[in-house]
Amino acid sequence: MTVAIGEPVRRVEARDKVTGGARYTEDVRAADTAYAALVGSAISAGRVRSIDARQAERAPGVLTVITHTNRPDFAAQPPTPYTAEGRMPLADDRIHYAGQYIAVVVAETQEQADHAATLVQADYQRTSPVPTLDAALPAAYIPRQNGLVRFPSEYRRGHAETALAASPVRLEQEYRTATLSHAPMEPSSTLAYWEGDRLTIYDSSQAVHTHRALVATAFGLPEDRVRMISSFVGGGFGNKSFAWPHVFIAPMAARVVRRPVRVTISRKQVFTGTGHMAATVQAVRLGADREGRLRALIHDSTNQTSFIDDRQEGAAGTTPYMYAIPDVYARMRVAKVSTGTGGAMRTPGDSAGAFALESALDELAYKIGMDPVELRRRNHADTDPVSGRPWSGKRLLACYEQAAERFGWDRRKAEPGSMRDGDDLVGYGMAGGQRMEHQSRARATVHLSDEGTAVIRSSTVEIGGGGLTTLSQVAAEGLGLPVGAVTFEHGDTDLPASSPTFGSLTSGSAGSAVRLAAQDALRAAIELAVGDRRSPLHGADPDDVVAHESGLRLRDRPDRAESYRELLRRNRVNSLRGDGDFQPAGETAGYAMATFGAHFTEVRINRHLPRVRVVRHVAAFSIGRVLNARTARNQAQGGIIMRLGAALMESQRPDPVSGRFISPALTDYHVPVNADIGEVDVLFVGEPDTNANPLGARGLGEISAVGICASVANAVYHATGRRVRSLPITPDKLL
């Protein structure tokens, strides 16, 4: 049966994953592999005076111990932010954060390496660390280089200060978000080996082509000498979007010991060695009239960054685009803390920013006695307030409406603390969310075979989001094949370069490339048929031929049809190749593009033992075309649950003295468990948005995680009358 885009097809790799058949990077074996263990710094600021590796070197199985004193040189520092740190590993004796790698022990087995790593003795010269964002705040500044953030560090329209002063209603508050860890199930792993000056690197990377370029630069190689492969990724969330130090350490160590080297970071190093979402302090000032029309908005965010990099958490980046406000000022600063460089984490900037802005709007709604949904409706941006361009497929008002209805928002009593059920305080809250849509060049090929099957070849990586399934559906629909007839070669730089698997690029960009490739293959098949005298389609106008049931037919004459199998076999063609090269229209598109969401949350809080329980969450998203109802729902639920964690429990607290993370372990870094999750209901509004791209799909992975924290905090206020402006909302904040 032919499968259409949008149908709830089961994941194509599901069976392999649940039976253990799926091969992750850690499962890849190479003959004669040596194993590395990474030694982290015990201090968070200072220098390494000396390292005594003698005992480690003598330990059983040890091949070498590499430190800043004996490491080979890198050819160059590849560019940030995709190179996560702007300092190559083991560059010098300086220590910028606790856990920074100071030595690499390579041994015959992982156990031997791990043991010897404990024997490396470092003598440190300590300097006083800057332990927390609060300590760093007085020295906050606007960074020169702002990394991945696609927005200026400062944005101005009108005169926000003046408009604010003239506003009849004013609100000024400060909001805080905690440092968060991605905490994926799979710790990052890299296996590297050299064959002459050719480097092969298996890496749990979310973006093989992007990262290959960085590795090539670091080792002074042309890109085509480096092959990077990432089969399946066991959870990314942005944690594997950047190339962290271990990615460069593995090839370096492999060169030193002249053998394949495997580096798998430890569970604890997942928390210190592959980034985090940096803590923020955000001041929000709102000015409005009594009818709830916003007149001025100032959003001033500062996030912690490391002493190595100026990495922004772009919390105020989307703010200017969100509401029809004449006067807006947004600023994003960084403050240096003795901690590692932050990474990109679902959803960079917007998750933290939406907590502040959407909480402030809720506060304003209560202040003027207006329904929070109505307040947002009144300030809806019908066109993009920054560029003035029309939005491409914005259905945010429908999101509010449909989610509110599904949720039963009309049952809400406005008065905080007025809804009770026995000892439970019941609270309803809502918030909106927006993420500017990005696109990236993506290529793919589709080979249609004389078996009536197709192979997609594209370097996109399956990180758990369901991309292999949705892209298979795209190809299947384009060629009129069942999904089962489509296979996928993926995650390898030997394949056509897809878009990276982050930034919600897969549906729109990688998807469009596959669509174009499938169309190209179809065109080739049609050409073959109409030019083939023995084909029932001979002589037909190619425009009248369509894909149907694993073959072709005339649109209006079902009897004039033949299968791909017959067509190709008769012509002795093994396979037809279609190429897809999606180039984003970018600025020339004439439209502003974003994804939108609306969240509604019900919390229950025992008034004596105030742990917040989210019993119900309803969200609606405007993302254009939904490629697969099942994987989309799953993806959105995952994004929501991830942020429920940020709302209620997740915090990578720094030791207030040293800045070292207190809980770099899954036992102590709490993410939601099953028992924490109530009903999570997801709706999609809208239709294919072909202004955005040929497929009409926009990203979902990121928008699904924007606005939840505010929705929860707003519900907590509604339940208790207490406004919590600092995440997470743990029981102590409500006593």
Binding site: M649, I662, D676
Partner: protein, 327 residues
């Protein structure tokens, strides 16, 4: 992890002998805490004597409900035991409130009692810690102590004991049976643990060679009316922020007798004798329960960031007792 020798003990005396002779030997139960600490470099035994297969793996029940629990009984088996669930529901609830199904399947009763504190600094060997390294200091005092002690702690150490099960057993007047260098002996569970004072190194009064063989729980006529409640930062699979084990005997609106212990507020499972004292003979009302809580928690000396535990412990006790009256 330091390399070590593993051996399996066949009977109690030989296990004791294997550890008594060697200062660097330790008993191994399910390994769910000790192996973690070895991986962290906090514990560095050169020899592990596995006592999890000793023949102390059954639960004996007397007709009056008294229990004799083997030290090698797995936490999940004890929680599921019908006699425990019937006569001492608070014990079953405490066990099920701890860890996860997988951990409980491994964890033994003996190991559970002797698990070490979850203080983050204790678990991080790059940090000083008086418990791990006497005299080096206590960074938790100035540092992160949100979930550390409010009562019973000292200048030298503010850690809490993390066990849920031990809180229920403390309330139930359990007795610990030991096999030591000089043969068998017993100890009330509440006397097993010691407050840190100026020597926080040892959590208990035990000698390193003391082997826990059994735990006995006396009959409690009103044990059926008991409850264990735990507040934590997420719904499951988290150590307690505050917990309480309580059993209540009410007749004619008056508290005849009660047993109360708190968890996660002190360096030891905290038997709340002052609260019990205040309650006996008092009316079974919320006011009386609150007064009892005050009697106990009046001694609390919270740290900079954990004062919230005082009202939380109070509320938890009042709610738990109130529910027991209704039940």
């Amino acid at each position: 992890m330091r390399p070590f020798v593993y051996e399996r003990a066949e009977e109690a005396r030989s296990a004791v002998a294997a550890v008594a002779d060697r200062p660097d030997a330790m008993y191994l139960g399910g390994g769910t805490n000790l192996v973690d600490l070895m991986r962290l470099g906090v514990a560095e035994p050169a020899r592990l004597v596995d006592v999890s297969r000793l023949p102390y793996d059954t639960v004996g029940v007397r007709p009056d409900g008294a229990l004799r629990i083997g030290a090698a009984v797995r936490n999940s088996d004890l929680a599921a035991h019908p006699a425990v669930r019937r006569a001492h529901p608070l014990l079953a609830q405490a066990l099920l409130a701890g860890a996860s199904g997988q951990v409980r399947n491994m964890a033994t009763v003996g190991g559970n009692l002797l698990q070490r504190t979850r203080c983050a600094y204790f678990q991080d060997i790059t940090k000083p810690c008086n418990k791990r390294n006497p005299g080096s200091g206590c960074p938790a005092r100035e540092g992160d102590h949100r979930n550390l002690a409010i009562i019973g702690h000292s200048e030298a150490c503010v850690a809490t004991h993390p066990s849920d099960m031990a809180v229920a057993l403390a309330a139930l007047d359990a007795v610990v049976h030991l096999e030591g260098r000089d043969g068998p002996r017993t100890l009330p569970l509440t006397e097993l643990y010691r407050l840190p004072g100026d020597d926080p190194r040892r959590d208990t009064v035990l000698d390193p060679a003391d082997l826990i063989t059994e735990v006995t729980v006396p009959a409690l006529s009103f044990g059926g009316r008991s409850h264990y409640r735990k507040v934590r930062d997420r719904a499951s699979f988290a150590f307690a922020v505050v917990s309480v084990a309580a059993a209540l005997d009410v007749a004619g609106g008056v508290v005849r007798d009660c047993r109360i212990a708190f968890g996660a507020i002190a360096p030891v499972p905290w038997r709340a004798r002052r609260a019990e004292e205040a309650l006996r003979g008092a009316p079974a009302t919320e006011d009386a329960f609150a007064a009892a809580a005050r009697a106990e928690l009046g001694q609390a000396r919270p740290l900079r960031d954990n004062a919230f535990k005082v009202p939380l412990a109070r509320n938890l006790l009042v709610r738990t007792l109130t529910e027991l009256v209704v039940a």
